[in-house]
């Protein structure tokens, strides 16, 4: 219907043009009057037919908002208050509700970050995949279903003929993400908005979905807006990149130019993230922490989550424990801290054998072994001030009181590059990076020999995470503290580790110095893992797919 009135396709013409977009939202914060904030301000962009434009930025940069504006949609009280969105030459913002409905699902389709939530749990997949095509009359039911099966095949979904008859919960996350891509392609739109489609996936799954999406875009000649916070991912799929920050455009250019010769300082910082200088240290003759043949299970031995795990951490050095979700890396931390007593094996720490249960450990054992968490905001009591949070270990372990304690708190705040002014603040009044710094100070206050860092940078934006990593390395030099650094992010591992343990399904599959672990020959899983981490390099995806030896772990 809508397509009949359209001007004939000009293959190289401009498909989408956004001019001077302004988006606002009303914020209701407790105890204050509602106020309007500007989320996107004066952004303009143009996208040619069949091209892919990457939108990149940290959280709050407005990238999803811009993507959704190409469908005339504002999420949760967000309003487009200024500018034009020209699609196929028409301003879709002027077409009214009916006009928007004709555009959505036929000219522009959307792929969400979490396909698991974006599919209706009450309906089979096929009905949902062909729904938009039937609604807009672009195909009959039989045609649409045939097309869907072809797309399932193209996207390398297992059992493409019958997968459509399953319910969303019967299909894995990585597969669901591909089904959602098929759903977007099924109504043969001119433009697809991909909103962080691989962010929720494990790294070995991500690469396959990414490759499938890239092929599908190319073969169908559809244009795409690809939204992500990961520069390495966007490099693989887009022709051009726009860098956004706080709702404004920072830089716009060809993909190669952005990553190889960025012009703006902010872009340069994003590109050079994780290029931390860290010299690998030689292992000491006697490890600080030695985990020997540990096996652990939940449910009284029913579900084994760790199998015969052995790792060493050396004094003043960093062991990175790397693995995907379900690999048992966080369980290892729980076992070492005594929260989950192992059913076999032993843990030696600072030449003492640690008791299995937390309750049986001496106060010195507890003090010398500290922990930092992924989510800094729930790792601190919201009802305590920074002074109390950092001061409590000083009171508890060293009996410091009053002025002596306050002096030491101030010193620690200095060490984490936050001034004395923060001493009376509550956690809610700190930024994400500051919160994590306070958690670091709390751990340092105990004068530990070893700190377990559980995904401490995963919840942070790349630049903030970078600052935290640099701080941790600096503190390691000063305090001579060892880190057991749990992460799923290999870039972080490469940046800070002295030795590495790779975990897979509850077992350590590779353990040694950083150079040893990262030098071939690899075992199958390490090879898969290493080859799956996107690099900031045009053409990496194709070569990586070619060189893979093992099928993805998840799917």
């Amino acid at each position: 219907m809508a397509k009949v009135q359209m001007p004939p396709r000009r293959e190289m013409g401009v498909l989408l043009e956004i001019r001077n977009l302004k988006v606002e939202a009303t914020v209701y914060s407790p105890g204050e009057n509602p106020r309007d904030v500007t989320i996107v301000d004066g952004v303009s962009l143009a996208l040619k037919r069949g091209k892919v434009l990457g939108l990149i930025g940290e959280s709050g940069a407005g990238k999803s908002t811009i993507g959704l504006s190409s469908m005339g949609y504002g999420r949760g009280g967000v309003r487009i208050t200024g500018g034009e969105v020209l699609l196929n030459g028409r301003d879709i913002l002027k077409g009214g509700v009916q006009g928007l409905r004709r555009v959505r699902g036929s000219e522009v389709c959307y792929v969400a970050q979490s396909a698991a939530a974006a599919f209706n749990p009450a309906h089979r997949l096929m009905g949902q995949v062909v729904e938009a095509a039937l609604l807009h009359g672009t195909a009959t039911k039989a045609e649409a279903e045939k097309r869907a099966v072809a797309l399932f095949t193209k996207l390398r979904l297992p059992d493409p003929k019958s997968i459509g008859y399953r319910y969303p919960h019967q299909v894995s996350g990585g597969q669901l993400q591909r089904v959602m891509t098929a759903m977007a392609l099924c109504s043969e739109p001119d433009l697809i908005v991909f909103d962080e489609p691989t962010t929720a996936l494990d790294v070995t799954t991500q690469i396959e979905v990414l490759a499938a999406i890239k092929d599908a875009i190319r073969d169908n000649g559809v244009a795409a807006l690809y939204i992500t916070h990961d520069l390495a991912v966007v490099t693989q799929v887009s022709d051009e990149i726009i860098v956004l920050r706080d709702g404004k455009m920072v830089e716009h250019g060809e993909t190669r130019q952005i990553i190889e010769a960025p012009r703006m300082d902010y872009t340069k910082a994003l590109v050079s993230v994780r290029s931390i200088e860290h010299e690998e240290k030689e292992p000491t003759p006697k490890p600080l922490l030695s985990v020997r043949n540990v096996t652990a299970a939940y449910g009284g031995g029913a579900v084994k989550v760790l199998q015969d795990v052995s790792v060493d951490v050396h004094s003043g050095q960093t062991l990175a424990v790397v693995g995907e979700s379900g690999s048992g890396k966080s369980t290892l931390a729980r076992v070492i801290t005594g929260l989950l007593p192992p059913i076999a094996g032993s843990i030696t720490f600072a030449s003492r054998t640690l008791a299995r249960r937390l309750a049986d450990r001496s106060r010195d054992d507890l003090r010398e072994l500290q922990m930092i968490y992924q989510m800094a905001d729930v790792a601190m009591n919201p009802r305590q001030t920074v002074g109390t949070i950092i001061g409590r270990p000083l009171e508890f372990y060293f009996g410091m009181r009053g002025r002596e304690r306050d002096k030491r708190v101030a010193e620690l705040l200095d060490e984490i590059e936050m001034g004395k002014g923060f001493i009376d603040r509550y956690p809610a009044e700190l930024s994400g990076g500051q919160k994590q710094r306070v958690c670091i100070a709390r751990a340092l206050a105990a004068k530990p020999k070893l700190i377990i860092c559980d995904e401490v940078t995963s919840a942070l934006d790349p630049l903030v995470a970078d600052g935290i990593l640099k701080l941790l390395l600096r503190l390691q030099k000063i305090e001579d503290v060892g880190y057991l650094f749990i992460t799923h992010d290999l870039a972080t591992v490469k940046a800070i580790a002295d030795s590495i343990a790779v975990m897979y399904r509850g077992e350590v599959v590779r353990h040694g110095s950083k150079t040893q672990v990262l030098t071939p020959p690899f075992d199958a899983y390490t090879d898969l893992l290493l080859s799956s981490v996107p690099e900031m390099e045009v053409g990496w995806l194709e070569s990586a797919i070619k060189g893979r030896r093992m099928e993805s772990a998840g799917n």
Binding site: S29, P30, G31, T337, G338, L339, L358, R361, R363, L366, R367, Q370, M371, Y373, M375, V378, A379, M380, N381, P382, R383, R392, P393, F396, Y426, P427, A428, E429, R442, A446
Partner: protein, 274 residues
């Protein structure tokens, strides 16, 4: 600190009305124009300057009865609420923090008690227990404590699962510190709101029992009992029974307004100063 300008209108109305009724209850013997049981006029006299609210079914001054009634209504409800809270919150917190067998056993008992509607079980028990105010307080308090137990154990279990409590455990803190310094400050707001709701429940429960003739026994009368005393006037168009009924409603609504306000403050809670 509490900012008076930020208290919404509804909460103000609630606070003032609740305060007023509390003052009436406290000062009843001094501000009541007549005695509680004193017969001062004809049956069901209309409102007049001598009897502001008229007289009741026996010719007693209704205003004076209302003031004394406020006293007993609020006293019994408050005592029952206090009992339900100390019992429910204490056991709930223990169950959440200690966990294990204790948690399971108590939760099953509470499930069982909650499987019978409160009013019905209340009636069953009152059919054999001696009719006095202590019985009322005990029965209402214990039955109501099941809800407090559910809430406090759920809230405490939520907080207990947070990383900052785990951090305190890893530090080696004792149970006392964990309950009183880590969990309690964060559980306070929902519990205070629940306190209001439990009080309303007690008021309505007591009124219903007294209305049914099973609550406060004559010659004493709470508001629910006064509704019962005067209910026969309704068919003759005499609204005396509606006055204590309206007073119960006013008390419940005003406490509800306050609780509602505390609750919205809770849901918008992110810690820090307030």
């Amino acid at each position: 600190m509490l900012n008076f300008k930020r208290i919404p209108l509804g909460a103000w109305i609630g606070l003032i009305l609740t305060g007023l009724l509390m003052i009436c209850a406290l000062l009843a013997p001094w501000i009541a124009p007549y005695g509680n049981g004193e017969i001062v006029g004809d049956v069901w006299e209309p409102m007049s300057w001598t009897h502001w609210l008229g007289t009741d079914n026996l010719g007693r001054d209704l205003l004076s009865r209302m003031l004394y009634g406020a006293r007993i209504t609020i006293f019994i409800s408050a005592m029952a609420t206090a009992l339900s809270f100390s019992l429910g919150a204490m056991l709930g917190f223990m169950a959440a923090v200690v966990g294990g067998l204790l948690d399971m056993l108590m939760s099953r008992i509470v499930d069982l008690l909650m499987a019978i509607p409160t009013l019905i079980f209340g009636l069953v028990v009152l059919s054999v227990l001696p009719a006095n105010n202590l019985t009322l307080i005990l029965v209402m308090g214990i039955l109501s404590s099941t809800r407090v137990y559910r809430l406090s154990s759920a809230v405490a279990a939520d907080i207990n699962a947070m990383d900052f409590v785990e951090a305190a455990r890893l530090r080696g803190e004792r149970l006392g510190w964990i309950i009183f310094r880590e969990i309690l400050p964060n559980a306070l707001s929902p519990l205070v709101a629940e306190l209001g709701l439990r009080f309303i429940f007690s008021v309505l429960f007591l009124s219903a029992l007294s209305y049914l003739g099973l609550g406060v026994q004559p010659p004493e009368a709470d508001w629910g009992g006064m509704v019962m005393e005067n209910k026969d006037g309704i068919v003759f168009g005499i609204p005396a029974a509606l006055i204590p009924a309206a007073a119960i409603a006013a008390l419940a609504i005003s406490v509800n307004l306050v609780a509602d306000w505390v609750l919205t403050r809770t849901t918008s809670f992110k810690g820090g100063r307030d």
